[in-house]
Amino acid sequence: MFQQVLFSGMALGSIYGLVALGFAVIFKATEVFNFAQGMFVVCGAYLAVTAIAILDLPFPVAVLFVLVMAALIGAVIQSTLIQPLAGRPILAVIMLTIAISIVLRAGIEIAYGPPARTLTTPMPSGGFAFMGLMISKLHLTAALVSWACVILFGLFFRYTSIGLLMRATADSHEAATISGIRVNTMNRLAWGIGFTLAAIGGVFLGQLQIVSTELESIGLLALPAVVIGGMQSIPGAVLGGLLVGVIEQLAAAYISPKASDVAIYVLLLAILMVRPWGLLGQRGINRV
């Protein structure tokens, strides 16, 4: 029982980690605390529905469609809405992201209708037994793909020249501007990546559950994940996502299904009180 819960917690946690990673990329680059990340997850799921069920694209093309559209939408949101508010107080920026999620939710519900959709892809389903555990193939695929994306983006930021430019921009906008980096392009790229990572998470969550705007609340778990892991830290976001997934499943299994949210937020509050900079964050940055 315990191992079973742990497995599903880790699998879900990997998806949360992926969404949280997208969140952290956006936060590091533009210092925007993105409350719309949950809605980005929903957008990813609906993009997949559009590609597979409505446009009837073959699966690889559909994947490409989701990735490209997600990156585009992210970049467009950054350049039209986020950029004009650069340097404004945090409440204005937070509220802007909340307003973006309100608009996205309304737009999706108008375009696709309120009833939930199911998403079916050729990805493996069913399950198999492994060392006494019942392992769902979809959960396993989700976890593996999430980890592949995390590693891929980790390598991208670490070793490619664009990754270096993005890290430099995130460190200091002024210094990057002086060095001739196109800061706005880098920020747009960060939003594109952040949206894409959320969208990939959305494709999996939409398959594990059902595609509706209610997925937003699951996507929003990326917020506590990022804070628990450490806001300035990319590995922290992934670790936070894993922790949130495991705690959610454990609380649901051993306390009550209603207790999963509150368990996560109790941990969040404890972290905020004891270690506000998060598990893997750097001390000092966060004390204002």
Binding site: F33, L81, P84, L85, R88, P89, I90, L91, A92, I94, M95, L96, I98, A99, I100, I102, V103, R105, A106, G107, E109, I110, P114, L223, P224, V227, M231, K258, A259, D261, V262, I264, Y265, V266, L268, L269, L272, M273, P276, N286, R287, V288
Partner: protein, 366 residues
Amino acid sequence: MSSATTSSPTATARPGVRPGLGRIVLLILAVAALLYVPTLLTERAIFGHRLSNMQLLNLGLTQINLMLISMLGALSLNYLMGCAGLISIGHAAFYATGAMAAAVTGTQLGWPFPLVLVAAGVAGGVVGALAGLPSLRVRGLYFVLSTMAVHYMVTFGFLEYQFRVFDVVGIPFATPSLFGFELSTPTRWYFVLLALVVLTYWGLRNTLRSREGRAMLAMRDHERAAVAAGVDVRVLRIKAFGLSSAIAGVAGALYAYYLSNATAETFGINFAIQFIAMIIIGGMGSLAGAIIGAAVWLLLPSVIGGMASEIGPMPGLLGSLLTEHRAQFVQLIFGVLVIVLLIFAPGGLVGLAHRFKALFGRRSEG
């Protein structure tokens, strides 16, 4: 100065200037209009002259009453966010606390209604002061998240309480009576709520003009300067949080009684977000802005609904927006309105009004 401080609530206060005759007449007219609203909306006629639904903007007294309850929430949140500078997305939690306190004292113990309201206020204030404690340790974004954590804890408590004592349909609330005066009709509710809103507005305005209120505005504008001037910002923050939450607690109890039923789902995170949207629309840091924002947020949906039925069936996209997707369409308008205001008019509608006043050469304020 940051743009969050666009219009200080004390800007309109001019001590020493005697109110002119024009102002007194305006005030009397406003009071008369407010007293006439319930008659107007129940008889749907003005001095015997019948008005069409559209001339009344498709409004009913129920919407007006819900608007008044929301005004309490928006006022208290604007006091906290706009005046004390503490961002909270946990305002629904204090509504829930108030409703829960009302359920324990009113529905379970059968206390009289005024006492229930006091209990709701005290409960809201205590939980609010506790929720404000993290402000001693964390700032900015981290504090925002701690209010979110408080929100989830309180709604979990509400859910547990609701399912232990009542069940899935929610907590019932009897028709309250105020010193033998049964609040059984919307008109009666209207006058009680109106009085409470006026009282809260007046109380908060005076608080802001007091020594502590000025210290709080100083804390919002420049914390270090305020500390240097001898303001204990830690105590002040918790006090502001307590006061704001106490008002929200009372509003929560009123809301539960008005709807005569409350469930945990009522007080979700979106419930808190709507109050933030209200004060952004109306104007951050301005008590009048809270009133205007709440009015826009609560009345616009019904006005749009009225317009849709007036115009009749329409072909194409707009037609389907106004009929089958009306709720989503209203949300879309609100979202776009908030975005546009944030980008072009950070002071909200009140800030816009000030700008127009200045533009037309009248005495500029603020």
